[in-house]
Each structure stands twice: as structure tokens, then as C-alpha cells.
Amino acid sequence: MQLALDVVSAIGILVIVVLGLAVVLGVLDVINLAHTGFMAVGVYTAVTATEHGWSFWAAVVAAMVGSGMAGLVVEALVVRRLYARPLETILATWGISLVIIQALTLGYGHNNQALVAPLTGAANVLGTPYPAYRLVVIAIAAALVAALALLVRYTRVGLTVRMVQSNENLARAVGIRVSLIRATTFVVGCAMAGLGGALLGPTQAINPNYAVSLVATAFLAVILAGRRLSGVVAACVILGSVQILFGRWANPVYSSTVVIGIAVVLMRIRPEGLTWRRA
């Protein structure tokens, strides 16, 4: 049971990191190398909010708003000019991540910041004690996936986004404001990064290089996933499980290498993503 909880926890953390990335890549074709930067904006916003007496959950909302606003500025000033130029967006978002790291260093210094979890202690899962906050993170990850799936599948907004994703010109021809959809999607992706940053803050070292060690597997997952939400979940399940199980039963030193190896093999077998279906 303990092992199962560790696996589910790893998958939950990965999902929380990946979702924002996947939204931006899936709809906009932008590989957002500034994702960890927006996570850092989120967690520093949450730290600042809690220092000013806000509750943790209010600080999480503030983190989403802060990262979303930062995303809005970045989209308007930089990313908007680079859509459909994947190589340039990679370079530009990498530069933006450096700017964010340096800005946070100037503002807060190199030292670690504190963000205390709202729940301490254990909860029992079928007789197995497990950190209560980790269980909350798992539940939030599941809720985010469900909400996103419902949004995309059953709402007019989801339909519009899917239309822009599949054929921009056609969407424009039927009166959809593609530029507004793009900007909104980027802002939502950044806000989700901020949400992830704040949620994971109590379990991670909080410094200007925040979440860098989380994001390598996240990028693999998002590339492996293809364009569907189910692919994102499948990729997170595969990579998160391999990471934990290999570390448990073999040598954790090599688990990252094994994760990369499996991702490469899967990409070779299914180059369009895990949930791609042949036409």
C-alpha cells in the first residue's frame, strides 16, 4: 500500500507540473521553457501572501493570479509575435525564464523561502498512514484533470479551443477571435504553472531556481503525451510509476535514465503521442 501511495503521489505531482505545459503546447504549439519560471512566480507570490497574513489557500489563488498576470505580459510583449515559429519560441521562453530567475534573485535573494503546508500530520489510507498534504495534492491533481476534461469536452469554450487547435483559419473564418483564444490559453497555462508552484511549495526547496529538477520529466511527459488530455495522464502514469518503481526495486541513481529511455522508446513507437489514432 505504501508503494502504491508513493506511485500515485509521484503521478499527482507530475500531473500538476505538466498540465500547464500541456495546455500551452497542445493549443499553441509553444514549448514554454519559462514554465518553471512561472511556477516560481506562483510560489513566491504565495510566500509573499502568507507573509502578509493570508491563508495558504488564499495564497494559492493569489499565486494563480500572479502567474497569470505575468503570463499576460509575456504573451503580449513576446510570445504573441512568435506563434508558429517553434524554434524562436523555445529561445524566447528560455530567455524569459532567465529574466524571471534573475528578477526573483534581485527581489528575494538566493536564500530559501518558507511556505508551510496547511495540513500537517498523517491520514490513514486503508490502514496505512500517509502525509495528509500529499493526499490533498493527489486529490487536487485528479480534480484538475477532471475539470479540464469536462471543460474541453462539454463546454462551448472547450469546443472553441478545439477548433482553434485543429484549424485556425477555419476558426477565424467562422468569427472566432483566434488571437484572444491564444492569449487566454497562454495565460491559463501560466496560471496553472503558478497553481502548481504554490501547491508544491511546502514539499520543495523554494528559491529562484524553483522546480528546475521537476521539469525535465514533465517535458518528457508532455512531448510523449501528444495532443490529448488522456495522453497527458497516460504519460504521467507511465513516467511517474517507472521513476518510483525502478527507484524502489533497483537503483534510484539510474531511474531518471530509465525514464528517459522508456520515453524515447515510446516516442519511437508512437511519434504522434500516446493517444494518437491512425486516420
Binding site: I13, L82, R85, N112, A114, P129, T203, Q204, N209, S213
Partner: protein
């Protein structure tokens, strides 16, 4: 393909992106220099190489404050017969970046000595540049007593000095079953190699040992492994920001209750940031801010004046002593004779903030304090051990 690349390269937006990225990278990669002295004393430029980015950047503020306080002190007291100025370079996070930083300091900027605040693998890379120019290097890292060179002195404790006293102390309290967990690089492995036989010789047993790569973000399955081995003590030897992540996750896990934590790499500033998550961590160090005495009070005031917002810790102390030690050696050896400065460094014996500080066999020789962290991240001293001679394993060529 080449046509596509050319089209991309010819766009103004590409130039703008590249220029912005290079500008930022340049700003991040460059260090800074203190202004040259304007008095009558000659200037002695000290290169400072430390991690301003990457996992070790957590130590940067304390190190910089210690160095600044040290420079202010030696210049005010005219210790060296020269005015010390510093030239700071970012070591980055790997051997290549530190080689670039040290090459710049030594070959381009012409520093007279290097103060290195980097882990063992980076120290080896930097010292390869310094050794060929016969530049004295004063290092925080001792490796594990196995990084040795004629131009190098290490101010950090070696494993037998830092680890064995805490092993003896906790085994003496009946904590005999130990689990060793570390980052996957040389220093933790060498530390365990020294600690394990000593633990067994004192009646203890090793119930498990495992490693994780540097940069690990989720330690849940490692904690499960440790808990399942049922140790009395978990000896956690992970560095920098990874250490913060591990300690947060350990403290939040209810299964770890009752297992003593030892973490000899945890600085006090970091422990303060951990807050309640640091509660109960045992550490051993040459310096804790809670050591009582007027000289320590003066030191704490000095590093605070130098810009340290958090508690004075071992990193501020070592970096301060690097400058003080170098200044005394320059006074003895003369500022133009590197060989004499290196020789003088090896014979260092001086009063520091927490008592006598000496160099034996090119490594530090000083008392070790054992302390336990409270819920506020502050450490309470439990015992002071006498200085122990460093046990070294230097390669023959060094």
C-alpha cells in the same frame, strides 16, 4: 533545412530573442568586483568563485556576507599590509562552468589568490587552473580529505572531524542502528566509507545505505526505504537545495517519527528557512551562531552589517575565515610571493570568532560542536569536541 534555418536566422525577432537571451545570460554569468582601493596601500585582488546559480546557490548569500565582512575587517585592521579587493565569479553548477570562471579570474583578471566556495568536483576543476599558475586556493570543501594539492588549503572539516563525533555521541545514547542516505557524488560516499567502520567499531550497525542523484525532487520512496529498514538514526547527506526538499518531505511524513535525523550539511540559515521542518535535526559543525562569546557576537554583527539577513552560519564563518587566513598569510609571505603565501597558509594558527583556528596538513583543525535544531530552526549546542587531526587519503601525485 538549411534554408529554413537561414530564414529563421534572418528575422529581426530572432536577433531580438538571441540578444535578450545573451544579455541576460551574460548578466547572470558575470560576477562583480569591489572597487579598487584609493589609499596608499597596494591592492591585493582575491578571486571569489561560488555558486550563484544551481543547487549550491542556497549558500551564496551567507558566503558573500562572510567574505565581505572578512575583507572589511582585514582592511580596517591593515592585517595584510595591502588592501584586499574581491573579484567574484559565478561557478555555475558543473565543472565546465567553474573552469571558465576560474580561468577568467586567474588568466584574465590576474587575481593573486582564489577563495573557492564550491563542492569537491568543482574544486578539482578550478584548482587545475590555479595550480598551473601557482595561485593559492582557499577552499570551503575538503572533498572528503582526498582533494589535495600543494597550492590548496581546505577550511571545511574532513569526514573524520565532522562525522565521527556525532556518531560517538548518538551511539553513546543508545542509537545504534543507522541508515546512510546521500546524494550520488563523492563526498557522501567517502563520508559513509569513514563513518561505517567507525560505527561498527563502537557497537553500532548499518541497516541500510542508498543514494539519489543531485536534483531529485521527490524523496517519498527513499523515505519509505529508510523507514522500512527501522533505523534509530537516519544520516542524511544531501547538499544544497536538495537538502531542503528532503528535510521538508521527511518532516511532513508521519512514518519518520522516532527516527533521529543527522544532517551535517545543513546550514543554520537554511534550517531557519525550514522552520518547524528542521525540528530535531542533529548536526555537527565548526560553527553555530548559538556558541556563546564576545568574539562570536562581534562576528554576527559584522556579517549582518555585510548584508546577511538570515542567521550567521558555518558558510558565513568559513568564508570569513578564508579571508582572515589569507590576510595573515599575505602578511607573512608577502603579496608578490605566492610560494611563501602558500607556505604561510599551511602554518596558520589564529583566533577566530569561536576560538582557535588552525591549519594542519593543509586542512582545518578546530573544535567541533554537536547541536540539535529546534522548531524555529535555531541550534542548541549539546557538546563541544576537541579538535581532531584530519584523516586524509590524498592521491600520491598530489
Amino acid at each position: 533545412m538549411s534554408g529554413q534555418i537561414w530564414r529563421i536566422a534572418s528575422r529581426p525577432s530572432t536577433y531580438a530573442s538571441v540578444a535578450a537571451a545573451l544579455l541576460v545570460a551574460g548578466l547572470a554569468g558575470c560576477g562583480d568586483k569591489t572597487p579598487a582601493a584609493s589609499g596608499t596601500e597596494p591592492t591585493y585582488t582575491v578571486g571569489v568563485v561560488l555558486q550563484l546559480s544551481g543547487t549550491g546557490s542556497v549558500y551564496a548569500e551567507a558566503a558573500q556576507a562572510g567574505i565581505k565582512a572578512g575583507v572589511t575587517d582585514v582592511n580596517n585592521r591593515h592585517v595584510a599590509g595591502a588592501t584586499f579587493v574581491t573579484d567574484v565569479a559565478d561557478a555555475g553548477a558543473d565543472a565546465n562552468s567553474v573552469t571558465t570562471a576560474c580561468s577568467r579570474l586567474i588568466q584574465k583578471d590576474g587575481v593573486k589568490a582564489v577563495v573557492a566556495f564550491v563542492p569537491g568536483p568543482q574544486l578539482i576543476a578550478c584548482n587545475a587552473v590555479a595550480k598551473s599558475a601557482n595561485i593559492p586556493v582557499l577552499s570551503l570543501s575538503s572533498g572528503a580529505g582526498n582533494i589535495c594539492a600543494a597550492n590548496l588549503v581546505s577550511l571545511g572539516l574532513v569526514p573524520n572531524q565532522q562525522t565521527l563525533p556525532i556518531v560517538d555521541y548518538l551511539v553513546g545514547q543508545g542509537k545504534t542502528k543507522w541508515y546512510f542516505f546521500g546524494a550520488d557524488y563523492s563526498t557522501p560516499k567517502n563520508t559513509f566509507a569513514i563513518a561505517e567502520p567507525h560505527l561498527k567499531s563502537t557497537g553500532g550497525t548499518v541497516v541500510g545505505e542508498s543514494f539519489e542523484p543531485i536534483g531529485t525532487a521527490d524523496y517519498s520512496q527513499d523515505i519509505t526505504k529508510i523507514v522500512n529498514a527501522h533505523p534509530d538514526v537516519a544520516f542524511l547527506n544531501v547538499i544544497g537545495n536538495d537538502d531542503v526538499t528532503l528535510q521538508k518531505q521527511w518532516a511532513a511524513d508521519p512514518r519518520t517519527t522516532g527516527i533521529e535525523r543527522v544532517d551535517i550539511l545543513l546550514g543554520e540559515g537554511t534550517a531557519k528557512a525550514l522552520g518547524a521542518a528542521a525540528n530535531g535535526i542533529w548536526s555537527s559543525s565548526a560553527y553555530f551562531s548559538s556558541v556563546t562569546g564576545a568574539t562570536n557576537d562581534q562576528f554576527k554583527t559584522a556579517v549582518k552589517a555585510a548584508g546577511l539577513n538570515s542567521s550567521a552560519d558555518i558558510n558565513a564563518y568559513i568564508s570569513y575565515m578564508q579571508i582572515e587566513t589569507l590576510a595573515a598569510a599575505v602578511k607573512k609571505g608577502g603579496m608578490t610571493n605566492n610560494a611563501a603565501v602558500i607556505q604561510a597558509l599551511g602554518a596558520t594558527s589564529m583566533d577566530g570568532p569561536v576560538g582557535t583556528f588552525a591549519i594542519h596538513k593543509a586542512f582545518s583543525f578546530q573544535p567541533v560542536y554537536l547541536a540539535k535544531a529546534g522548531a524555529d530552526g535555531g541550534f542548541t549546542i549539546a557538546k563541544k569536541s576537541d579538535p581532531a587531526e584530519p584523516q586524509l587519503s590524498c592521491p600520491p601525485a598530489s
